[in-house]
Amino acid sequence: MLLMTFINGLTIAALLFIMAVGLNLSFGLLRIVNLTHGSFYLLGGYIGLYVYKATESWIFGIVAAGIVVAIIAFIEEFTLLRRVRGKPTLETLITLSLAIIISDLLIVIWGGNPKTIKIPELLKGYVTLFDANVPIYNIFIFCFACFICLTLWLILQKTKIGMIIRAGVDNFEITSTLGINIQLVFTLVFTAAGFLAGIGGAIGGTYLMVAPGEDWRILTYTLLVIIIGGMGSFGGTIVGSIIIGMIFSFGNVYVPQFSLFLMFAPVAITLVIRPKGLFGRITS
């Protein structure tokens, strides 16, 4: 039981990481909290489901979810957010409005009943670890998140674009005076964050469910991860995801009546003691 709860916690943490890392990077760069991120997740879930049913290929579903959401994220950044850059209230209102519009459209198109994406044959089944039967799909989500984590880390640390992103997060004001085309980097990061959210939605929809309201639930958990881990911090996102994932899993099993309290309490404490988050450097 203990081991299984731990493994479930890790799975949720992995899923939250896929969601939070993109949101946190785009927050670090653009200094706006993209409230559309949760809708991107749910949209990814529905598109994954739709394409999976149409093509009978789960992989196609996942990739299509990533690509479609990435395109929508690109359009949002390029046509709307770019026009109101530097006006936080307008930026936040735009992301909030889009989130509501997408949520409602999803209900119009796919209805209000919860749906699940079937686990593909290859990832069905269990592996026995000590006394626990661990679903292969849980292991897959964890490995996939590790893959994303490692790839992003390598890009951030070793490549030119990665260095520019880190520079933008570190001191956004001077990047453009150095002749760096920071607008392009904004669009790129925002689109990549959308891609990850779309993929996260399709993968998460296979593990949890695809239903109205999931967008706001995941957005809230993702924001908790960022507040605890630290805004703009890559390492902080990993730690924050694990903390929230574990609290979610253990809380639901052992003290379900307090599970929400248990998730928000560390956030409140973090905000009081260390407003920047455990690893954050950005204050404004």
């Binding site: 490549t159 030119k160 520079a167 453009s176």
Partner: protein, 254 residues
């Protein structure tokens, strides 16, 4: 506009207001091809604002700015940087969470330093660009910090941070450098070092320096410009400036 081509910087009737306050009031000046200048004036005279207007960090209200004959009045900060403009800030403005080496790397953005033959420059490891890595080594050596390249800039001393900032300004080999109080907050030893460094760098570059330490500033050039309430009130050699009645008024009032 062939006359502008002969000059490094030309400002024509440049204006900037913040709210109701005129920060820059109809400023015009010409900085010749091989000239440098010292910008002095009381606090709040508009010196840093003038720098911000030239670099494009703050947009003009009206007027024209040319760099080597190119009208940059409405150009982006990047374009001005590509034309050979670099600056330092009054308060050190660096990437504190990144190493000295990475800071210099980020300053190398002009085409000259881009690796040729590379189809995906964004995704290749940054340390593989030999051109840039050699230049970084050279720059860190010239600012005396070659042994600190792997140290996070936020952990360096204030003087060393100034050295990095100068390194970032000279890295792309700019033609024009705007130095905003490069000596501010430094100890005497550090000042001497930075002084020597700037003199070394000043060769073959147009420099405009904002500096309260007049003796140091006069080492670089004897072309002084005095700004007060957003207006250029005097321009010329130290002697002519000292004899200028308006300048005397401003500095007596201080």
């Amino acid at each position: 506009m062939h006359t502008e081509k002969e000059h490094a910087i030309v400002l024509r009737n440049v204006n900037k207001s913040f709210g109701g306050v005129k920060a820059i009031d109809n400023v015009s000046f010409i900085l010749g091809h091989d000239k440098s200048a010292v910008l002095i004036g009381p606090n709040g005279a508009g010196k840093t604002t003038l720098f911000n207007l030239i670099t494009g960090e703050v947009p003009l209200d009206s007027g024209e700015i040319y760099i080597f004959g190119v009208d940059i009045s409405n150009s982006s900060v990047q374009k001005r940087s590509d034309l050979g403009l670099a600056r330092t800030y009054q308060i050190c403005n660096l990437f504190n969470g990144m190493t000295a080496e990475e800071n210099i790397y980020l300053a190398l953005n002009s085409n000259e330093w881009k690796s040729k033959r590379n189809k995906f420059p964004f995704l290749t490891p940054w340390q593989k660009n030999k051109n840039k890595m050699d230049r970084i080594k050279e720059v860190l050596k010239s600012v005396g910090l070659e042994d600190k390249k792997h140290i996070l800039v936020g952990n360096l001393s204030h003087g060393e941070q100034r050295q990095i900032e100068l390194g970032m300004a000279i890295a792309p080999d700019p033609k024009i450098m705007l130095l905003d109080e490069p000596m501010a907050g430094l100890s005497l030893t550090e000042r001497k070092f930075i002084n020597k460094l700037i003199l070394k760098l000043a060769v073959k570059k147009n420099i405009i320096v904002i500096e309260h330490d007049i003796d140091f500033a006069l080492n670089i050039t004897d072309n002084i410009m005095v700004l007060d309430h957003g207006k250029v009130i005097a321009e010329g050699s130290p002697e002519s400036i000292k004899g200028n009645v308006e300048v005397q008024k401003v500095y007596k009032m201080e």
